[in-house]
Amino acid sequence: MIHQIFKICWNQKSVNLWIWLEMIVVSVILWVNVDTIYFLTSDYFKPLGHDITHTYRVNFNSASEENPTNEMTVGEKILAISDRVRNYKGVETLSFSFSSMPYSTMDNYSYLASDTSRVEESDFMAQRRTVTPDFFRVFRCMDAEGKTETLTNALLEENKIIVNSVIANKLYPNENSVGKKIFMNKSPHIWETGVSAVIPIYRTSEYSPINSHATYFNLLPQQAIAGINETGWIEAIVRVSPEADHDFPERIKRELGSALQYENVFVIDFTSMSEIREMVIFGIGGRELSQKGIIAGFLLINIFLGIAGTFWYRTRQRQNEMGLRMAMGSTHANLQRMMTGEGMVLLALATLPAMIIALNLGWIEFIPVSKGRMLFTPERFLICQAITVGLMALMVLVGIVFPARSIARLHPSDALRCE
């Protein structure tokens, strides 16, 4: 049966040529889009390592001063206001950080290695998060045993960092990395620190790949906060108790009123972390996802139209052949199956060259691949190819449905009369 279908396809090669070419082109482009979508979403539903419910970011701004008294810095004023916020009824904890909060759009990186000889050429990039101990309480981060206090204590250890399991597995695989040394390349200096604790999971967003997002935490000392003179970068985040979390921003602004201001530094608003997430998530992954999805959908519809057109033409053109087959004993179902078989054979003939082209594109990194994120692995390639071929096959099936149905209505004598 398959051999016969191959023959039929070959006999009609002049007609089949353009649809075959189109299938190759679309398979490749579709694969590129599917791969990007996979790259973005593969870890979407896995754990994030932080809990943003009932959390709010405190947004500060400052007016420039007419007569600067120079007694207190902007940072000290922020600390003063934050103390008042911390003491407000319902607020459980308040933390400070730079470029560390979930869904933060800023990041800082260092290159890490496990010994001095390798650190200069190290290409292992880890995101640095500078936080106060309360940060782990605000976001309910936990160590492997589910305890937050291990982390808050570990952060205070001098000259040590908390690493996540990606770093631990990369630099000290198969052993307990607590207590081991880490070397950081921050040209022109090399810093030596040690591991004080391991946090199993912490990633910025659902779009950060879970197995390659390397990050570590170091301490943000009080003096550093006091020394800042701009309000835009500091992340001050509060966790509010569930009972107190209704209309929290309005209530605290109303009840604290002018206490939320210290000379020229003031609180603009309290934005809930889930609101921040909504605003950021589109930019960091959602937009590209919908772009690729729309392009993929567009391509699939085009293939559907192409297949439907080709096979419709085919049923018309080969009516006499169909009639002959029916006269020789073929059933309608047989004919439909043969037609679908032709479509699938065409697809298979197109998939092979398409896969080779795709492999080459992946090799030269035409698709998104970056250090610290997902690499081009055989697993990724095979999964995405399977999805691509599956989608194409679906389009072929759907495209052949109507032409195949029209065969079912064919009466052998009518078909033969067309001769």
Binding site: V15, I268, S290, G293, I294, N302
Partner: protein, 424 residues
């Protein structure tokens, strides 16, 4: 049936092209308030390097712009505007109405470079700018919230970031498609000192918080302006003793400055163009193959019919003409369907393709809300007008005709007997 599929194929291609043209217009085209994008050059960032401290990058300082860029010749206007992204609080009526606003400090030339629609009042004048007067222009949204109406707002006091201003004008809300001209309040930057606290010594004259936009009289003057700026930088550097100032880019066009990566990166126009050209090619190539293949198939089926018509006396011209006419009709119907599809798509799917920034702290998502009428009006006319739609239609027609002509021509030239023999 094949005709239906051809129509759908054309419609899809048409809709996609419309979407792309729309996106292009939003990013690069002229519309209120940025009506002069094609004549504007941008200087957005500068670096100052001094031996020991490495390089500091940032926006431009007030001194640099006032001393060296304002006096440029052969220009229509030069404006400086602050680059803040964080919002602040605006308060009115003794603190009773408070609202988060994004703010821009700028000069009087700003209102020449951009075209704002004033609902009441006017902008501040040049003299007012020079004197550092505390006047502010606010958007309709703020006027309505703080003062109940744009007319009542004039002359009232608005406290922005702790400083009192008098409202001198109210403008219609700015479309969320634009970025650099968008804000809620605008005041003369001369009323405060904006030198960042971390800039010291010579750096204060170079690095600051301003963007500089130059409105040329015509694009032909671009070359002259760029060389003037070159000479300006030479002069600036001759006055520096401890370091060197280098612009990250020469004055660049609107399209190029969109491709800047971060405030200190250089623009990468070529890379962006390649990326978008590839996407465009893909999005047009596949429907093109489709349409060609479908049309050729359609023509093939008609070869016998053409043979019969030739026996009855049809000439080459007749046949060819009929083919063209049919395909024209199919393309026309397909295009109309495509226009409708395009319109629907833009209403529900356009967010995905736009280069917008997300204002984290302002508390309003700047994801485009196409149902806001002020957005719709500007751009729909840019896309949904006869010349643009006509151009797209002609493109699809050309595609259709090219794929129809070849088999039609061959069929027309075949001897009658061969044509008749060729069964369906």
């Amino acid at each position: 049936m094949l005709s239906t599929i051809s129509i759908l194929g054309t419609a899809l291609a048409m809709a996609m092209i419309i979407a792309l043209v729309f996106v292009y217009q939003i990013n690069i085209g002229n519309y209120a308030p940025e009506v002069n994008r094609d004549r504007t050059l941008y200087i957005r960032s500068i670096g100052y390097s001094s031996g020991n401290n490495g390089q500091t990058n940032g926006f431009l300082s007030q001194e640099l712009i006032r001393k060296h860029f304002y006096p440029l010749k052969n220009v229509e206007a030069v404006t400086a505007l602050t680059s803040f992204t964080s919002p602040t609080l605006a308060t009115s009526l003794n603190g009773q109405r408070m609202i988060k606003v994004s703010y821009t400090g700028t000069d009087d030339a700003f209102w020449k470079v951009f075209s704002f629609h004033f609902l009441s009042g006017t902008s501040f004048t040049h003299e007012e700018f020079e004197s550092g007067i505390r006047k502010v222009v606010i958007s309709e949204r703020i006027a309505r919230y703080c003062f109940d109406s744009s007319v009542e707002a004039i002359g009232q006091t608005l406290k922005v970031s702790g400083v009192d201003y008098s409202v001198c004008g109210v403008v219609a809300d700015v479309s969320s498609f634009v970025s650099i001209s968008r804000a809620d309040v605008w005041f003369p930057y001369t009323c405060q000192n904006w030198t960042p606290s971390w800039a010291d010594g010579e750096m204060r004259d170079i690095i600051g918080i301003f963007n500089c936009l130059i409105l040329a009289k015509s694009t032909a003057d671009f070359g002259n302006i760029i060389s003037q700026v070159d000479q300006v930088m030479v002069k600036v550097n001759s006055e520096l003793h401890n370091g060197k100032a280098v612009l990250h880019d020469p004055p660049i066009t609107h399209a190029a400055q969109l491709t800047k990566k971060g405030s200190a990166g250089s623009s990468d126009l070529k890379g962006s163009i390649i990326k978008y050209a590839t996407t465009l090619f893909v999005l047009l190539f596949v429907p093109a193959i489709n349409l060609s293949g479908l049309t050729i198939s359609r023509m093939r089926r008609r070869i016998a019919e053409i043979g019969i018509r030739k026996t009855f006396g049809a000439t080459h011209g007749n046949i060819f003409g009929q083919v063209l006419y049919e395909n024209f009709l199919l393309t026309l119907i397909g295009s109309i369907v495509g226009i409708v599809l395009g319109y629907l798509f833009l209403n529900f799917g356009a967010n995905a393709f736009l280069m917008d920034k997300v204002d984290l702290l302002v508390g309003r998502s700047s994801l485009v809300d196409l149902t806001t009428s002020s957005n719709l009006n500007h751009l729909f006319h840019a896309v949904f007008n006869f010349s643009t739609l006509g151009a797209i239609f002609l493109f699809c027609l050309l595609l259709n005709l090219m794929s129809a002509s070849i088999p039609a021509w061959i069929a027309a030239r075949n001897s009658i007997i061969n044509a008749l023999n060729e069964q369906k």
